[in-house]
């Protein structure tokens, strides 16, 4: 049977935008798709999933041990449903990257990581070497395709659907040897980096946590999310969940403004799909200018206050 299953991601109260992006990838594969929502008391989330355009059905597995996103527990439930599906898709977020390879191994298949385009039901393209090369990958047709969807490459599907919701009981007991302790959220109230249409980002040049305040203020003025380079995170100027790049978040906002970021390949790979890249750097030779649509060679400590003034 040729049908696709999408693993929904949520935080207990809201569906993550990555799920609607996976739906667009599933639509490109061209088969019917269902969405699986795992968690505890997730009726409201199931309804959000049911509204995603094109969804044929939503399956809910509701159990206390699924409340936290532990891959060991979630993978067991997906594997229990796998038989009915030719394709199983999850997002390329940390949730999906933790979970999906586990499912692939339990099903005895290799995983296609980070699908950026669909060329056929078993033919995809994906980036490797931090986006410095693109490969055409063909998955074997006689086994399940398990894949992560590179969320920055896909637009979210609409939400005017009304799929039927079916609830199932959990089929596996909770793992005893892996225990969830807690989550310390970093970002706060600003727009989510991975879905924000505008992102303001800064690097090592900020020189302190205090200086980062002006970046937040500018971001708030234009309703932007805030990102950072690895150097800024490593130096403790901002929390880790703000890191953009190969080891941080891969994002595709309409507008990305980089202040004092040199433009190392590991950073650039995280912003390649942005609509417009703006770079402000005092070094005219900084590699970030090679990818910038609009560049300004200047001191960010002058530019940011001026921008704040002109935009407020």
């Amino acid at each position: 049977m040729s049908k696709t299953l999408i693993i929904a991601e949520h935080d207990g109260s809201n569906l993550n935008p990555s799920t609607a992006k996976c739906a667009s990838c599933a639509a490109a594969i061209g088969q019917d798709f269902d969405i699986l929502v795992m968690g505890s008391s997730v009726n409201a989330i199931a309804e959000q999933a049911a509204a995603i355009d094109g969804a044929a059905g939503v399956t809910v597995v509701d159990a206390e041990n699924l409340a936290n996103p532990l891959a060991v527990n979630h993978a067991a439930e997906v594997v229990a449903l796998a038989e009915s599906y030719s394709h199983i898709l999850g997002p390329s977020t940390t949730y999906g990257r933790d979970l999906m390879p586990r499912i692939a191994a339990l099903l005895g298949v290799n995983q296609v990581s980070d699908i950026s385009t669909v060329e056929g039901s078993h033919h995809f393209t994906r980036p490797i070497y931090a986006g410095n090369a693109i490969v055409d990958v063909h998955a074997p047709e006689n086994v399940t395709v398990v894949a992560t969807v590179r969320v920055a490459s896909w637009k979210a599907a609409g939400n005017s659907g009304s799929a039927a919701i079916e609830t199932r009981s959990a089929s596996a007991p909770a793992s005893a040897n892996t225990r969830y302790v807690g989550l310390e959220a970093g970002g706060g109230e600003r727009p989510d980096l991975q879905s924000a249409p505008r992102v303001v980002s800064a690097g090592r040049a900020m020189a302190s946590e205090e200086n980062f305040e002006m970046v937040y203020e500018l971001a708030d003025l234009i309703g932007a999310g805030v990102g950072a380079s690895r150097a800024a995170v490593d130096a403790g100027y901002c929390p880790n969940d703000m890191q953009v790049g190969q080891t941080g978040k891969i994002i595709a906002p309409d507008l990305y403004i980089a202040f004092g970021i040199s433009g190392a390949i590991q950073h650039i790979t995280g912003i390649k799909d942005a609509g417009t890249i703006v770079a402000v750097n005092k070094d005219a030779d900084a590699p970030i200018f090679e990818v910038a649509d609009i560049g300004l060679v200047a001191d960010l400590f002058t530019v940011i206050p001026e921008m704040k003034q002109l935009l407020s």
Binding site: P101, A105, V109, I294, E306
Partner: protein, 248 residues
């Protein structure tokens, strides 16, 4: 307790990657090769655990041709006790690599396996999760802090929403992130010493692993290039440009 550390030989992270003109791969001729940066961090952590008296032996393992002995020797110079090269001419995919690690685990019975969160060539980020599933032991991925306490380890994971803490019983498979530690530099005398440390070579088929369900790569392409941008003179011009384009 023994700790097993996976070491992959990859193109150095500073090298500018070029796709070959016949689309068959990326240029590797005369290109600098190194230990995958995440694996260096995994090894550093293993060494610190041993130095804290919580492990007796650190074993570095690499799957590849003879050339990966170079990276294993660097691992020995950093302080690993011995090395295993699983010899194969093939470019193995994560499922096969995980199955191979499982065979090595059966032989060595480690209490902890430390891998990188991803290899920076294929950017797959699969091997640790697959190994944990096949071994039926806990997995902790993208780890930026570790605290060993007897039979279990408490880890902090870098996830999209912030920092997640979980506790896993040993043995476990842990994949490490960049902020876990700063790897030490190798000193010259250590390189000399490393030459005398044991490096065992096992052929892949001796372990009874056959590559299966492989993905086929038909073509390598360079990424699309962005159109050339413009330079503006000052902040006022920048803001005007953003407004004209309807971006703010």
């Amino acid at each position: 307790m023994k700790i097993l550390v996976g070491i992959k030989r990859v193109i150095d992270y500073n090298v500018r990657i070029r796709v070959k003109s016949d689309a068959s791969g990326v240029e590797t001729d005369g290109v600098k090769m190194s230990i995958n940066p995440f694996d260096e961090i995994a090894l550093e952590e293993a060494l610190r655990i041993r130095e804290a008296g919580l492990a007796e032996e650190v074993i570095v393992v690499s799957l590849g041709g003879n050339e990966c002995q170079q990276q294993l020797r660097t691992g020995l110079a950093m302080g690993a006790d011995r090395a295993i090269q699983v010899d194969t001419a093939e470019d193995l995919q994560p499922l096969t690599i995980a199955r191979t690690f499982l065979k090595v685990i059966e032989k060595e019975q480690p209490g902890l396996v430390l891998l990188g969160k991803q290899a920076i060539d294929g950017d797959n980020s699969q091997t640790a999760q697959m190994l944990a599933a096949l071994w039926d032991r806990p997995q902790a991925t993208f780890v930026s802090q570790m605290n060993m306490s007897g039979e279990s380890v408490t880890v902090v994971r870098e996830v999209d929403a912030g920092l997640e803490t979980i506790e896993v019983d040993l043995p476990a498979v842990i994949s490490v992130d960049l902020r876990l530690n700063e790897p030490r530099f190798v000193k010259l005398p250590d390189i000399m010493k490393a030459k005398r440390k044991p490096l065992e070579v096992i052929a892949l088929d001796e372990l009874g692993v056959a590559p299966e369900n492989n993905l086929e790569v038909s073509k390598y392409s360079p990424p699309p290039v962005r159109a050339k941008g413009i330079l503006v003179e000052d902040t006022a011009q920048l803001v005007t440009e953003l407004k004209t384009r309807g971006l703010v």
